[in-house]
Chain length 334, copies 2
């Protein structure tokens, strides 16, 4: 199964077919390029997502990231950023390992194809020239035969005519002989050129064209092998990032598992604990004994001295809560 022998007369179709092969390759390059753009756009969107939800620097928000749940979210964001990075790696590796190489290769291929078809056309032009030469020598032989025939007939006519001088007969005989000789020479030349042409034509169909078409077939087969290799690389470049993406997902799971609700509750205590004890019992103010009055008034007013954070929510907001008393004797008197 060789193009050189099987497709000896399909010069035009092979030219079209190999151009189609180059088109297919360029289409594949374009496809991979568009894939790399999609990967970059995907990575950019993921990076933007990660960036958008990062806590603002030096803000109250950043301070909130002491809680394990917030830390886990921050880890998720950071892992998503690395995840995005892996899609950039897909894009970069597809560019460096496929498109850059194939673009160089397609240039070499175009050059090689051009050179092969140039050789083919040169061989074709050569055989055309040989054929024209053969045609021309054949026509000369045919013409010379006619001339010799005519000269022979003229000589025979003169020779049979009793009214003609011997000198004229002799002249016609010589002329016929000359024409005969010329036809013989043309025949020899035509014969020689024909032999050479048949030799050239044999070589053309059985050596030159098969050799050139063989090269074209090999070129095509290399193109096919090459596109197959690129397709494998295309999948492998994608597959290479899977373990690293797996690690990003591990990181998210690990962060999620390190969430500790008890720890976060403790952090809330540390953030908001006032340190005060709940107020103890209110003492009895005995107005029947005026000397006690001052004491009890002091103990009542102590509720208003230096107690921070004693506001209650809702309607009471901004109003000091009056029951608070830093009183170690709570319930002693009850």
């Amino acid at each position: 199964m060789s193009w050189g022998t099987e497709l000896w007369d399909q010069f035009d179709n092979l030219e079209k077919h190999t151009q189609w092969g180059i088109d297919i390759l360029e289409k594949y390059i374009k496809f991979v390029k568009e894939r790399t753009e999609i990967e970059l756009s995907y990575a950019k969107q993921l990076r933007n997502l990660s960036k958008k939800y990062q806590p603002k620097k030096n803000s109250k928000e950043e301070e909130e990231y002491k809680y394990t749940a917030c830390k886990a979210f921050l880890s998720t964001l950071n892992e998503m950023n690395d995840y995005a990075g892996q899609h950039e790696v897909i894009s970069e590796n597809m560019t460096s390992q496929i498109t850059v190489d194939l673009m160089r290769y397609v240039q070499e291929l175009k050059q090689e194809r051009k050179s092969n078809f140039h050789d083919g056309r040169k061989a074709q032009q050569h055989i055309e020239t040989c054929w024209k030469q053969l045609e021309s020598s054949k026509r000369r032989f045919e013409r010379d035969c006619k001339e010799a025939d005519r000269a022979q007939q003229y000589f025979e006519k003169m020779d049979a005519d009793i009214n003609v001088t011997k000198a004229d007969v002799e002249k016609a005989r010589q002329q016929a002989q000359l024409r005969h000789q010329m036809a013989e020479d043309s025949k020899a030349e035509y014969s020689s050129i024909l032999q050479r042409f048949n030799q050239e034509q044999w070589e053309y169909y059985h050596t030159h064209i098969p050799n050139i078409f063989q090269k074209i077939q090999e070129m095509e087969e290399r193109r096919i092998v090459r596109i197959g290799e690129s397709m494998k690389t295309y999948a492998e470049v994608d597959r290479q990032v899977i373990p690293i993406i797996g690690k990003c997902l591990d990181g998210i799971v690990k962060a999620a598992e390190s969430i500790d609700q008890k720890n976060d509750s403790q952090l809330v205590v540390e953030a908001y604990k006032s340190g005060f004890e709940p107020p103890g019992d209110i003492e009895f103010e005995d107005y029947t004994q005026p000397m006690k009055r001052t004491v009890s008034e002091n103990s009542l007013s102590s509720a208003k001295e230096g107690k921070p954070e004693l506001k209650f929510g809702g309607k009471s907001r901004g109003k000091l809560w009056p029951f608070i008393k830093k009183n170690k004797k709570a319930r002693e008197n009850s």
Copy 2:
């Protein structure tokens, strides 16, 4: 470490902190939603890429997909379509397993938080009412003591005044006794209300508030556990598609490996082979023997009979190639 005891006076801050917790949860839901949108957009781009490079139906292009290299490219496109589908699966599963659930949960959480702070405010209002009652009974007791004091002083003044009738003294004594009794009654009421208030206050700080704050703490801890579970799901949903994406990549590699350049070369032969033999030698046309002329002219003209596809490329395009002769006797005469 319980918010009920440690943060008994941090009603406002807990209200703020739990609101922040809900904000964090809603922020996470928004984050996951945006991720699902990115996945959908990525999948759409990949699907469009796959569609764009599919051969046009019923076109010459479709016919070209008999070649193994083209088949492999078509497999790549189809696998990319499945690959895209897996990113849609990520999006769908994140929606169904995270955002839909969390959105329902956040509504429940808001309701639960509202109910807890409602209970807190109710307990707070109750103790405020008790305190006002206590203040009022204390003021009444104070006023009644003053009245009793004044009545006692008046009685003593009347009693010491020799110009006053016994009846007036008796009236003042009875009045002083009455006032004294009223002060005693007020004292008993004040004392009873104080005792009840101290009881209520104790329960408020040591039972009601701790119970409510405990519920709030548990609510917060459940929120934290829930967000952690969602973060794990987030990673797992992504991880679940990896084996299937791996299979898509296997499919691309398998298609690339099934590329067979020799098979494709054979298909080119089948597509373009004319079935004709290369022309044999051109016969000698002997014009010296007129009877042979007819034969040789026939053999020459046969080159122009019913030979398709004999055009050569380049400048010769459209010109019949004249050397072709379906001649089994090739080189017999040479």
